[in-house]
């Protein structure tokens, strides 16, 4: 009996460790921005290129910052959910149109609907780099003080929206 205790113990430990490893998502790299002020930028708005958008303009509001592009396949996946969210008027969604031609982007919004209050047009992707974007779509939650509180990587799912994003938004909106 004792002879088997050690190998069995090691085996069980290995199974547990591997199971934990399998359940982790290596693509979810923790963002160094959580708890820090939003990176500063100023970009032309997609529909009014002469109007500059910068996150400072939204101080005092809780808002979602959704990074999207017309060439991004998974953006299509989360899009109906964003449309639905924008109709509910729970939280304003601002977009970062990442490395996209302005005409392609506009056409995409026309075809599938525009859930954004405004999309900042980041043609070169430099603002994307400043926000640590590496896998479009990404969604940031920014609080009233302009601090990044959460980052969702990949398409927003119903589960993520209802269990992570919206509860956090409600909590932040209740904050002073």
């Amino acid at each position: 009996m004792n002879r088997f205790a050690l190998p069995l113990g090691i085996f069980t430990l290995l199974v547990v460790l591997l199971a934990i490893g399998l359940s982790l998502d290596p693509r979810e790299v923790p963002s160094p921005f959580i708890g820090k002020p939003t990176p500063v930028f100023s970009l032309p708005a997609l529909y009014q290129p002469d109007q500059q958008f910068s996150p400072q303009q939204l101080e005092g509001k809780v808002w979602l910052f959704n990074v999207w592009a017309s060439w991004c396949v998974s953006c299509r996946q989360e899009h109906p959910l964003l449309m639905q969210l924008s109709k509910q008027n729970l939280v304003p969604i601002y977009g970062l149109n990442y490395k996209d031609e302005s005409n392609d982007a506009k056409q995409w919004l026309q075809q599938w609907g525009n859930p954004y209050q405004l999309s900042a047009h980041d043609l070169t992707g430099s603002v994307g780099i400043d926000w640590g974007v590496y896998g479009v779509p990404e969604t940031f939650v920014v609080d009233k003080a302009g601090v990044v509180r959460h980052k969702h990587i990949g398409p927003v799912t119903v589960d993520a929206l209802e269990n992570e994003l919206l509860p956090l938004v409600k909590k932040l909106q209740a904050e002073g």
């Binding site: 693509r27 790299v29 923790p30 160094p32 992707g125 780099i129 926000w131 590496y134």
Partner: protein
């Protein structure tokens, strides 16, 4: 005819293979030191899109952008540390292929040595046990021999 065909095919593939290496764009620097610095940095920085490649190996768009960023920063005389800090500030420690030594990564750095120490301890213990067992068997073998000799002597009497 067959050999001719295959050698032509081989030469053709050889010529075309050059194209495969043309993926990485060429950055121009003022001096060899900058070139070297660039090479070192893109070897050490991870591409976040295809996570098991560094910036030098990856052909992802983000990797291209980040290579360009590194090149720009080198040309504007930023130090290596400044460039690394810039990347870590945006993408976290994960962007470094060589993780920094700190409390969170203690197990990562020291884990292999810990396993080595445990392995050596187990090995020593096993060898000792083996030696002790051998001693006993040797001793009992000698006893057996002694008994035989004694018995023999008894018989001779």
């Amino acid at each position: 005819m067959n050999i001719k065909f295959y050698s032509l095919l081989f030469i053709g593939l050889l010529v075309l293979s050059g194209k495969l290496f043309a993926g990485v764009e060429i950055q121009r620097f003022e001096n060899a030191q900058q070139q070297q610095q660039y090479k070192k940095l893109i070897d050490e920085l991870r591409c976040l899109v295809c996570q098991n490649q560094n910036l030098a190996d990856s052909d992802a768009e983000l990797a291209q952008d980040l290579r360009k960023k590194v090149a720009d920063m080198i040309v504007s005389n930023k130090s290596e540390d400044e460039i690394i800090d810039y990347m870590v500030a945006r993408y976290g420690d994960f962007v470094l292929y060589r993780p920094p030594f700190k409390l969170q990564t203690l197990l990562l750095w020291l884990g292999p040595f810990l396993i080595l120490v445990v392995a050596v301890l187990v090995l020593v213990k096993n060898i000792r046990a083996q030696q002790a067992k051998e001693k006993i068997t040797v001793a009992s073998a000698q006893k057996e021999k002694a008994r035989q000799i004694l018995e023999q002597k008894e018989g001779e009497k």
